[in-house]
């Protein structure tokens, strides 16, 4: 069996007495779109932050291409080829769209303080390449016309796309999408679904977190369901939709008190 691109082994994370992520074993094979779903407070974003290095797990490990990356710092993880977007779009508002995407080129470029201050030829070359790459990504996503606009002036839906473009600029092998459809209308959500499929076709594995089933059921190959920090189901979308445990969690059950809500 092929080695999964990303795997977590017995991952635990506590917040005070609360166990936000409990013994999670998640495997993401190469080239798929995998979704992590679960009701609010299920621990999806915590799981995401554990993978992206924003917070460190208390127990367990994270493996990327079979290599442990547990508690690595976010910048090192980005350098390895894991990019992420945020639940609430977090663009650099005072910078142009192009500059935002060029920041995404950071892990693939190298000129430091000295080269920058002295404006060495290698810095020019790198800058030119960065700019060309960033423009190509914007062009591809239909954002070319916004390149020189200040990011915060863009409509919300466009900002989300810029955040995608920025993450793609890091040339990730794995893209972590934290509630990409949050706040988007139906039309924008459909557009986004097409975009995620296209990204995946180009060989970027996607891990999508969402509590809204509609998007993930359409695009994902596999679904992983979390509730109260632990896995309750895993499988293809069709099967998940019929899973009695998932239905119970989503539709509510008097027998299932939820200490996190």
């Amino acid at each position: 069996m092929a080695e999964p691109l990303l795997a977590t082994r017995h991952l635990h994370r506590f917040f005070g007495g609360l166990c936000a992520v409990k013994d999670v074993n998640l495997e993401v094979p190469r080239g798929v779109i995998k979704a992590v779903i679960g009701p609010n407070g299920a621990g999806k974003t915590t799981l995401f932050n554990l993978i992206a290095g924003t917070i460190a797990p208390h127990k367990g490990e994270v493996l990327f291409e079979g290599r442990p990356i547990t508690a690595w710092k976010p910048h090192a993880i980005a350098g390895l080829g894991i990019a992420r977007t945020f639940q609430t779009t977090r663009l650099f508002g005072h910078m142009t769209v192009l500059e935002n995407v060029m920041v995404g080129r950071h892990p693939r470029t190298r000129c430091g303080f000295l080269a920058g201050m002295l404006d060495l030829p290698q810095a020019w070359r790198e800058e030119r390449e960065s700019k060309a790459k960033a423009l190509a990504i914007l062009e591809d996503m239909g954002l070319r016309e916004y390149a020189h606009q200040q990011a915060s002036y863009l409509p919300f839906g466009r900002q989300r796309l810029v955040e995608f473009a920025r993450a793609l600029a890091t040339e990730p092998a794995l893209l972590l999408l934290d509630e990409p459809a949050a706040g988007l209308n139906i039309y924008e959500t459909r557009e986004l679904a097409g975009l995620i499929l296209r990204i995946c076709e180009r060989g970027v594995t996607c891990l999508v977190v969402d509590h809204d089933m509609s998007l993930v059921m359409d695009i994902s190959d596999e679904v992983f369901v979390l509730d109260q920090g632990r896995k309750i189901a895993e499988g293809p979308p069709r099967q998940i939709q019929r899973d009695p445990e998932v239905i119970r969690v989503y539709l509510g059950d008097d027998c299932a008190p939820d200490p996190q809500s």
């Binding site: 980005a78 945020f86 910078m95 950071h106």
Partner: protein, 355 residues
């Protein structure tokens, strides 16, 4: 296109020449003394502008780095090594020209370090201390960082005020001129006025070019991204901690260079250079100039330091800078050199209020 960023540098150089010609023609070259001194202070605020306006980190301890530079150089160029004249180390340094003989104020022959090694030692000291302070402190954010750097500034002030080595309340005087190369020297005597005016401006415009290049580079973009959203920047592969520490150290080195040069220019340095009030003054200048606006900071740095050195603010000198800080924060947090700031100030003037 890329050379467009140097046009302001050329314009500034032209203005500098113009000002010199005008002052010489008007026989008012004595203004150049304060202009030169202001120019060295501007070095501090250029570094602080990078740190505050671009990387988004505050420091209330930069007078400390200025003092470390100035005092290190002053001590090394005025200490008397005669007692160790015959040791191998001093002998070796003498043959290399690192240690020289000169006459002190009272005509005695003393043996002390020459200016270049003292300069490098000062930069090294400031750099090392900046790294040692920066590594733990730059992890802090906002008020906490401000307080920690304030604490650093207070420590440096008390050390230079208390230690015999640093001349206590008198400071260190009789610091020799700094011979640069080809006969040029940093020297505050009237005969060297015009020469030093140009030396100071060359240094500052060179620092300006470095800073401008930096902000237009990959690193500059990373710094701005840290300022706006540190977590997002971190997730995109920007080693936020390292960049913040590096900027802190670079700004400390600029402050120390200003300290060294001004000390040689004045021929002395005193504890007033290390006070927290000086640090607050630098922060106020960066705020007036407009945080991330290098040229604005340069302009306001020249103007305010010049007025202060001319004694325009009288005994209320420090109060004026405190007042400026309050005013800027209230009415023009983006700095004075932006249109919205002027509109807001005009709006507050009597008779301009909209009903």
């Amino acid at each position: 296109m890329r050379f467009a960023r140097y046009l302001p540098v050329i314009a500034a150089a032209a203005l500098v020449v113009l000002l010199q010609v005008a002052l010489s023609a008007a026989d008012a070259t004595y203004y150049m003394t304060q202009l030169t001194m202001s120019t060295y202070y501007v070095l501090v605020v250029i570094g602080l502008c990078l740190l505050m306006g671009y990387a988004g980190q505050v420091s209330l301890g930069h007078a400390g780095f200025f003092a470390i530079g100035g005092y290190t150089s002053a001590v090394l160029t005025t200490c008397n090594l005669v007692a160790w004249r015959d040791t191998a180390v001093i002998g070796g340094c003498r043959s290399l020209g690192l240690v020289v003989e000169r006459q002190d104020l009272y005509g005695h022959t003393i043996l002390c370090f020459s200016a270049w090694p003292a300069f490098f030692a000062a930069m090294l000291a400031a750099g090392l201390i900046a790294v040692l302070i920066g590594l733990p402190v730059i992890r802090l954010k906002g008020h906490y960082l401000a307080m920690a750097t304030l604490g650093f500034g207070l420590i440096i002030y008390r050390i230079v005020l208390g230690a015999k080595w640093f001349g206590q309340a008198d400071g260190i005087s009789n610091v020799p001129p700094f011979p640069l190369f080809a006969g040029l020297q940093v020297n505050g005597r009237p005969a060297f006025r015009v020469e030093n005016y140009y030396i100071a401006w060359t240094v500052v415009l060179a620092a300006m070019v470095l800073a401008i290049n930096l902000v237009h580079s990959r690193v500059g973009r990373a710094l701005r991204s840290i300022h706006q959203d540190e977590e997002a920047a971190h997730s995109l592969g920007v080693n936020t901690y390292r960049y913040k520490v590096c900027t802190f150290v670079f700004s400390a080195l600029l402050a120390a260079a200003g300290g060294v040069l001004l000390t040689h220019y004045n021929g002395s340095i005193g504890p007033s250079e290390a006070t927290v009030l000086k640090s607050v003054r630098y922060v106020a200048i960066v705020a007036v100039g407009g945080m991330g606006n290098l040229w604005g900071v340069l302009l306001m740095g020249m103007l305010l330091n010049f007025l202060s050195l001319r004694g325009v603010f009288g005994t209320y000198d420090d109060a004026v800078f405190g007042g400026i800080l309050i005013g800027i924060m209230l009415f023009a947090p983006q700095g004075l050199l932006r249109a919205p700031a002027w509109r807001r100030v005009l709006h507050w003037l009597p008779g301009r209020r909209h009903g």
